[in-house]
């Protein structure tokens, strides 16, 4: 018996076209595909308990404004940018600095070292707080580069800026974050990511 070839997954561009033609399932698939990355981005930016609502808002805004999506950056990067803007708007409305929520991270590792885990967690909380205090552009550039692993060209396209400016924002962000974590000696964190 021959097994029919599995159909290749539709690309983001095909799903976008599908949604624009009225296919609701295409929008659902796009959310499924990228929602966790958006949540991770927002979580790192200090969105805390607002992550779920902001993820929804970001996708809703993205679909509402698809006619402005030029395709110079990927759909995911574009939604990440909208998510960053949504977070900035939320903070502006509330008129306060981010509150970093404790999020119940657990280390599921056989070589679990409680002390190292506490230190690591404390550092991550400090870093998350410091990222949340960065100017929005620096925050977004830093996270897109360091967390999402994007090239400067794609970051620049997503944020409507130049590659040079994106590099400068990243440089300033790193400088500020280092200053915020100045008391942490070099090499105090694990050198290998065991998670």
């Amino acid at each position: 018996m021959t097994v029919p070839d599995a159909q290749p997954e539709p690309s983001d561009a095909e799903l976008i076209a599908g949604w624009q033609a009225g296919d609701e399932a295409a929008a659902t698939e796009l959310v499924r595909r990228h929602a966790r990355a958006v949540a991770r981005f927002l979580g790192a930016a200090g969105a805390g308990e607002d992550v779920d609502d902001l993820v929804q808002d970001a996708f809703f805004r993205a679909f509402q404004n698809l006619d402005r999506f030029r395709g110079t950056a990927s759909f995911r990067t574009w939604v990440l940018r909208i998510a960053g803007n949504a977070l900035t708007d939320l903070r502006r409305r509330r008129g306060r600095r981010p509150v970093v929520a404790l999020d119940g991270r657990e280390v599921a590792d056989g070589r679990f070292d409680p002390h190292a885990a506490v230190v690591e967690r404390d550092l991550e909380d400090q870093l998350q707080t410091a990222i949340g205090r960065l100017p929005a552009m620096q925050r977004d550039v830093f996270l897109l580069r360091a967390q999402q692993g994007l090239e400067y060209a794609e970051i620049a396209a997503a944020l409507d800026t130049s590659v040079g400016a994106a590099r400068v924002h990243y440089h300033h962000a790193v400088k500020r974050l280092k200053r915020a974590l100045a008391d942490v000696p070099e090499g105090s964190t694990a050198t290998e990511d065991t998670r």
Binding site: A27, A35, R36, A39, R40, F41, Q64
Partner: protein
């Protein structure tokens, strides 16, 4: 802390938020909002008819005022039409009157048009429409 450590730590941030997200619920919520927004922006015939009816009332009021000022002699004056009324065909206007459940005053002859009404007749008509 050096840049490499900083980047490594940044890569680990937000994982709990990502793991905690109910993707299916999020997708359902987003599509529900999009659906609601599409429905909200869909042109609704009832709303269009209501707008037309309001415009029709403005037309009648304007006509009555014009005739009231000058007795029974109609003076031709521009009457501000509500948007949408001026491009209606006679058939569509007839449909509009039907939708308002308007009945001609007894004193009006069948086939009378608005332009042929005198001030009293228009007042009767307005009174009827106002209920």
């Amino acid at each position: 802390m050096n840049e490499r450590e900083l980047t490594r730590m940044a890569q680990g941030l937000g994982r709990a938020a990502a793991d905690g997200l109910d993707v299916e619920r999020t997708a359902a919520a987003v599509t529900a909002r999009l659906r609601a927004e599409r429905v909200r922006h869909r042109p609704r015939p009832v709303a269009r008819w209501l707008a037309l009816a309001a415009g029709f009332a403005v037309l009648l009021a304007g006509t009555a005022v014009t005739f009231g000022d000058h007795g029974a002699v109609p003076r031709v004056q521009p009457v501000a039409l509500a948007p949408g009324l001026d491009d209606l065909s006679p058939a569509e206007l007839g449909e509009l009157l039907d939708s308002l459940q308007w009945q001609a005053p007894v004193s009006l002859d069948v086939g009378t048009t608005l332009g042929e009404l005198d001030g009293t007749q228009l007042e009767e008509l307005l009174a009827l429409m106002e209920g």
